[in-house]
Amino acid sequence: MEWEVVIGLEIHAQLKTASKIFSAASTQYGAEPNTQACLVDLGYPGVLPVLNGDVVRMAVRFGLASHSSIAPRSIFARKNYFYPDLPKGYQISQYELPVVHDGWVDVVLDDGSRKRVGITRAHLEEDAGKSLHEDFHGLTGIDLNRAGTPLLEIVSEPDMRSAKEAVAYMKLIHQLVRYLDICDGNMQEGSLRCDANISVRPMGRHEFGTRAEIKNLNSFRFIERAINYEAERQIDIIESGGSVVQETRLYDSGKDETRPMRSKEEANDYRYFPDPDLLPLMLDEKMIESIRTDLPELPWDKRDRFAASYGLSDYDAGVLTTARGTADYFEAVAAGVEDAKLAANWVMGELAGALNKAGIEIEASPVGPDALQGLLSRIADETISGKIAKEVFESMWAGEGSADEIIDRKGLRQITDSSAIQSVIDQVLADNPQQLEQYRAGKVKLLGFFVGQVMKATRGQANPAQVNDLLHRSLDG
């Protein structure tokens, strides 16, 4: 039987605020345990939450960008359960009335087709602390630095039909929250993570199957593997006559499998009710409009514009707009060179490779857009060849100066003087009589050998087109 996988994601985006959602404590990652938890985060007797306005603006930014409705009135509720890393014994979250609801995004798949994914809702909530089970001699340590960190939980419709679609959607959200500057997108540190709801059904059937929820997936690779594993598992169960149990499961990346979480943790009745310490969150049209005006160009708009105004392929436009930093860099370079495709190739090729190898972000690139533009101009005016340009780029990366300085200092200027090239060719032919004879006897493949010899003799600086042209004349003439 053919099966269809149905996937919905609940993505937790940690909002990029300086302070927590309900207190003034810092949200900086990686501090000593419990040094960034104030009395409010610690749930001390008598303290009260006060909503951080930045958090609201960020949620609205996301809502507007994802074609969602913004609730004029939304409510913070308490989700009650006991756990040592949950200081108050309840988590403040939005339950019945979230601030953002009913939106959608279009995801571009590998084959270039577009897939619309519905956004059911996006609500604000506080994160819990962390329980540390190692190094405490059988006891559990509690770090409350993360307690009260603002999260936007983005819940999708069950619109995805494969692990690849789910990953593409996750990547789009990753891209979007970074464009909007509301989340740093650092999945390793947990700034962006997701739970996946997965079910399977016979192809063509309308009703959903029973779903399992896979918790806390924090890399694109894990999302893909966890979904594939889980779908296979469910299909195996059904095909062997069993039925899928609705449950929460964990993905073990070491073993590449999912397994059930202890059912005890699921038995909670969270007893949600509106938090009486917080007033309803009221948003007026004026505020929403001012946030709308302030939105940056969104990734899909940028991608379309890049394709149209720079004459790039959809693929290139997509790659260049993956991150706002890359897009900005590309535009700065392209502004000064005629050939946008050349700029695109360099940004996606040499530059991306070097950044990747060094493990740094484009914003911190040692070769800035102006410097790269200087280099590309020398390719365009044929001062150097593309091959030599790569050598110059390496020197620029190493901080040896601008393209022009390096070209001059190292004498890398391209040889375009035909008579100079011709004399090198003459010398090469004279030095290789045997190969010349074979060539003329019909082994035309040897052209490459002669080109190589000429380039070698000119240390790569001869204009390759001219070399080709003159060699043909000398050999065939």
Partner: protein, 488 residues
């Protein structure tokens, strides 16, 4: 000096009749002599109080005294006080020393008010008799066999016996007004949102409000001015300007429309209390006010509504007392569940547990709509009743309690009868209105209170009516035998 009101003491300090150090020393001595009989204080902060009094005298000597500088006060032990035990009347917090001051405490401190100590209370403010305190019941100075009311029973007894000229309290369902009525003191529960709740240990967040127990309405006006106002740390504190409450005092009641709630005069009202209430109404009429009957048709649903909403909120508010970060922790827990169960089982008393269980139940899946949601709807109806009444009248009056103080132990085994003691006060909390209890006479030697209810943020008019009534009567000046003379 202790027979004077706070306003009179302020004048005496201003006139240099005595120093704050002398005044504070006098009250501390009274506490030392008298409190063994009353158990009104959990903590007496003698050294800090004398130190603060000397600072106040110093400030006065340098011309830096405000209207409240150097005046002593007692704080209900529900307000967090930096460096001082804040127990909330519970074993759970018997070892809790707050690292910060509640906004109420901080504001009064900033105004130069000197804290004498922390007063006893029903555990987590849950009670109407002060019998649920971990520190034992507080006695009523008017009859040591009687309860002083609750939950602010320690504050009420302390002021009634003039061990403090004034005290703070909190009122969730009557916890200021009811003990004030039973101890012949003046209790003010302001509008919900008038005074910051920051640092006030939460019982039921949508109902809790800080206020005062004083010897007069004028004293309440003095303190409210310093306590009230928006606090950025409390989102539910209102951004409504604070008027000069003292300035509003002394205005004639002529033309004032006062509503008598018909539903308050039910079978539950003790005939003695009813007679005293009638006399109080005559006084108000004599002052020029028109007393008309109004109806609050849904007020009879107040008690059951309250006993859904308040326990629901408390069941969640008290979750933080888990033995992990502060407060009582069971010894040698064998695992996490055991730690939770025994810390909470041993740390909380019976009434607190009863309300946590009730609240957990009404919020549970399957019961939420039938209880919590329905209670919230009824709450709207009750608030609506008051709003309709306030279209016709300026203030509403009625009894504060159905009976005078009852015997210690009389109702401890019957929570429902105990809960009915707040039948006239609870609706005011559900509607978020300001209310007062003013001494208005005695029944069999026990004091009785007149409840006056105002519209939202209309404390000025409320205080003025109480003040004018007190200018006409001397009930509030009467002190219990055995607590009035100067200590030897």
């Amino acid at each position: 000096m202790h027979t004077r009101t706070l306003a009179e003491l302020a004048a005496a300090l201003r006139d240099g009749e005595f120093s704050s150090a002398e005044l504070v020393g006098h009250y501390l001595d009274r506490i030392e002599t008298l409190d063994a009989r009353l158990n009104a204080f959990v903590t007496v902060t003698r050294e800090q109080a004398l130190q603060a009094a000397r600072s106040a005298d110093h400030a006065r000597a340098h011309g830096q005294a405000g209207p409240l500088t150097g005046l002593p006060i007692a704080h209900k032990d529900i307000f967090c006080t930096e460096g001082i035990k804040t127990s909330c009347g519970s074993r759970m917090l018997d070892n809790f020393v707050s690292p910060y001051d509640a906004t109420v405490v901080r504001r009064l401190k900033a105004a130069g008010v000197v804290m004498l100590g922390k007063t006893n209370m029903d555990e987590f403010a849950m009670g109407s008799s002060n019998e649920t305190s971990w520190y034992g019941p507080v006695k009523n100075p008017w009859d040591l066999n009687k309860v002083p009311g609750g939950s602010s029973g320690g504050s009420a007894a302390a002021v009634a016996a003039r061990m403090a000229p004034a005290a703070t309290g909190t009122d969730t369902g009557g916890s200021i007004r009811q003990p004030a009525a039973l101890t012949n003191t003046t209790g003010l529960k302001p509008t919900y949102g008038r005074v910051s709740r920051y640092g006030m240990i939460a019982f039921a967040s949508s109902l809790d409000q800080a206020g005062t127990i004083t010897a007069s309405a004028e004293d309440a006006a003095m303190l409210l001015g310093a306590m009230a106002g928006h606090d950025p740390r409390d989102s539910t504190s209102a951004e409504v300007p604070v008027p000069d409450y003292l300035d509003a005092l002394g205005e004639s009641l002529s033309g004032l429309r006062i509503g008598l709630a018909r539903e308050f005069l039910d079978d539950g009202l003790d005939p003695g209390n009813a007679a005293v209430l009638e006399q109080a109404l005559d006084v108000l009429r004599g002052l020029g006010a028109a007393v008309v009957e109004v109806s609050l048709p849904n007020i009879g649903l107040s008690v059951p509504t309250y006993y859904v909403v308040a326990p629901a909120e408390c069941s969640s508010n008290l979750s933080r007392f888990d033995g992990i970060r502060f407060g009582y922790r069971a010894e040698d827990p064998k695992d996490l569940t055991d730690l939770y169960k025994r810390s909470r089982g041993e740390g909380f008393g019976a009434e607190v547990k009863r309300r946590i269980i009730t609240g957990t139940y009404v919020l549970s899946a399957g019961y939420y709509d039938a209880y919590y949601l329905k209670a919230q709807r009824v709450r709207q109806l009750i608030a609506g009743d008051f709003q309709r009444a306030f279209e016709e009248v300026d203030l509403i009056v009625g009894p504060t309690t159905p009976t005078p103080a009852f015997d210690i132990g009389a109702k401890v085994d019957d929570p429902v009868t105990m809960y009915l003691n707040d039948i006239y006060t609870i609706g005011v909390n559900l509607a978020g209105l300001p209310g007062m209890s003013v001494p208005c006479g005695f029944v069999d030697g026990l004091p009785v209170g007149l409840q006056i209810i105002g519209n939202h943020f209309d404390e000025g008019r409320l205080l003025n009516a109480a003040h004018m009534y007190q200018r006409e009567t001397d009930w509030h000046r009467r002190l219990p035998d055995g607590f009035s003379p100067e200590p030897a």
